[in-house]
Amino acid sequence: MEKTKKKSKVRRYLPFYLMALPGLVYLFINNYMPMGGLILAFKNYSARKGIWGSNWAGLKNFKFLFATQDAWTITRNTLCYNIAFIILGTILSVTIAILLSEVKAKAAKFYQSFILLPHLISWVIISYLVFAFLSAESGFINNTILAALGKEGINWYSEAKYWPVIIVLVYLWQSTGYTSIVYYASVVGFDKGYYEAAELEGAGPWQKIRYITLPLLRPVIITMVMLSVGRIFYSDFGLFYQIPMNSGTIYSTTNVIDTYVYRGLLQQGNIGMSAAAGLYQSVVGFIIVLIANGIVRKIDKDSAFI
């Protein structure tokens, strides 16, 4: 009796397990198996011996990594860029979202379709766009703008000091449309009653934004910001690899953890150090995600990850 019950249960649910299987196998291979490979950070990797056969190196890779100037540079760059992205990105996209909600619906749709466009273009092609502006020999800025002002051209791809501005501008260009749509969707959903009541009291548009829209938007903003804070130890590889065109002279302001790991692995063959930097990112990144999520949970339970 027990046995047949169990058997029928298995038969009943078997189709679901079969449906789930390919996806689970993929995630196991693509996401879980590499986690085991993180021990590479503690090994003296030799291609002949493989990941498991290579000799243990203890903390040597980490000692080397943190003894270099690079470790500090990539940590500082990753964090500072992300902080700038979060602050400026939030201000700009909230502004756009609110303005979109104020203009006529048809106009909003028209604007929206254009500001979303940059998000659909690959980083490779964006690097071509940026190159058209910044190329030392034929770029639009050197050849047309600076020439018209009677100024000499700048060698953009070899001067590190300009890149914090360039990277932030390119980031805002590519991502603001996307995030502003998220905020716009919330603003459109707000109860019209509040606004009608405020109008009867004689409130102007600025007052409505100040006293109705922004307070209502506050939890959404906090949630979105905390989700970005959770990713603060990661950066978009395309933005930091393609846009500066992998130019070595500007690494001091363009190198982030993700590009450092890539170059260590595939350009310099420094696998130990690259693996150590990767583990550093995975572990610290994980801790930050958990903390950020804990904060979101306190503010708005529905938006929390876990």
């Binding site: 590499p34 993180l38 203009v103 490779v124 020999e137 749509i181 995975s282």
Partner: protein
């Protein structure tokens, strides 16, 4: 009807948004115009919005002697088509399975999917595994499999759609009528989940079409497998390589590289499929963004 204050504010809003729109499209305009610029003009005057001399040479070159380029273009379509088809099938099945109530181990399976969004091994072990264990380096699998096929985020998005938008009673009714679980899935659930499937298909399409990282990591010798993005990536690497070598006084083989106008034309055709479909997909795209934001 509007007060003076409101009118002024509306004007401000429209001007601000119009400026934003201009900022968004100006770089794209420069790209398109450059591809239609005569190449010697381009070299002499640089990239310009109103060039001295227009020319269709770049596109004529692509059609006539751009065999390699057209092949890469074809690869982009093949990889995107295959990738989206497989990705969508696997993702939908997994999401559906973990959305149904009462399945033993459902919580563990859901967490198994979800945890991949919080923690990952990163590039080094992933690269070592795909090249050392699965030997996908310089094969077409490299463009289809790593990191793109199943994304936990989309699985969770679909799962919550199945849970909230398809009443359990309908599925039960189907199974009482004698339908097998696969039939219910195929004939009842999928048609009802069309909106979310379309959204995930769209995101997956953009992901595959725009991907260049897998080619960068895994295609080192098989340039015949390059997609248009890989080709553009390789060309810009060569420009960088050439200009840094010229700087140290070496001669470079500039002739092997397509002219600037041709490179711009390749970038334009790289955006073209997205630009053409964009008017039809933009509603779904905007909806998809907000969907993800409501519940991550």
């Amino acid at each position: 009807m509007y007060s003076k204050k409101t009118k002024g504010f509306l004007a401000f809003a429209n001007i601000f948004l119009a400026l934003d729109v201009i900022c968004c499209i100006v770089p794209l305009v420069l790209l398109v115009i450059s591809s239609f610029t005569d190449n010697t003009t381009l070299i002499r005057n640089g990239y310009q919005f109103i060039p001295e001399k227009f020319s269709l040479d770049a596109y004529a070159y692509l059609l006539k002697s751009g065999k390699l380029i057209m092949k890469a273009y074809g690869m982009s379509f093949v990889v995107t088509g295959l990738g989206v088809a497989v990705s969508l099938t696997v993702t939908t099945m997994l999401a559906y399975a973990i959305s149904r109530p009462g399945i033993p181990g459902k919580k563990i399976l859901t967490f198994f999917v979800f945890f991949t969004m919080l923690f990952n091994g990163g590039l080094v072990p992933t690269y070592m595994m795909y090249t050392g264990v699965f030997h996908i380096k310089n094969t077409i699998w490299a463009l289809l499999i790593p990191n793109l096929l199943v994304r936990a985020y989309y699985v969770m998005l679909m799962r919550s759609y199945f849970q909230t938008s398809i009443p359990e009673e309908i599925l039960e009714a189907a199974s009482i009528d004698g339908a097998s679980e696969f039939q219910t899935f195929y004939k009842v659930s999928i048609p009802m989940a069309k909106p979310i499937i379309a959204t995930v298909a769209l995101f997956s399409m953009i992901l595959y079409w725009n991907d260049w990282q897998n080619g960068l990591y895994y295609l080192t010798t098989r340039t015949d497998l390059f997609t248009i993005q890989n080709l553009l990536n390789r060309m810009i690497q060569e420009i960088q390589f050439l200009s840094s070598n010229i700087a140290v006084g070496q001669t470079a083989d500039v002739a092997s590289l397509p002219s600037t106008a041709v490179r711009m034309a390749i970038a334009v055709i790289g955006i073209l499929p997205i630009a053409i479909t964009y008017p039809f997909i933009q509603n779904n795209f905007a909806k998809g963004i907000t969907l993800g934001a409501v519940k991550g």
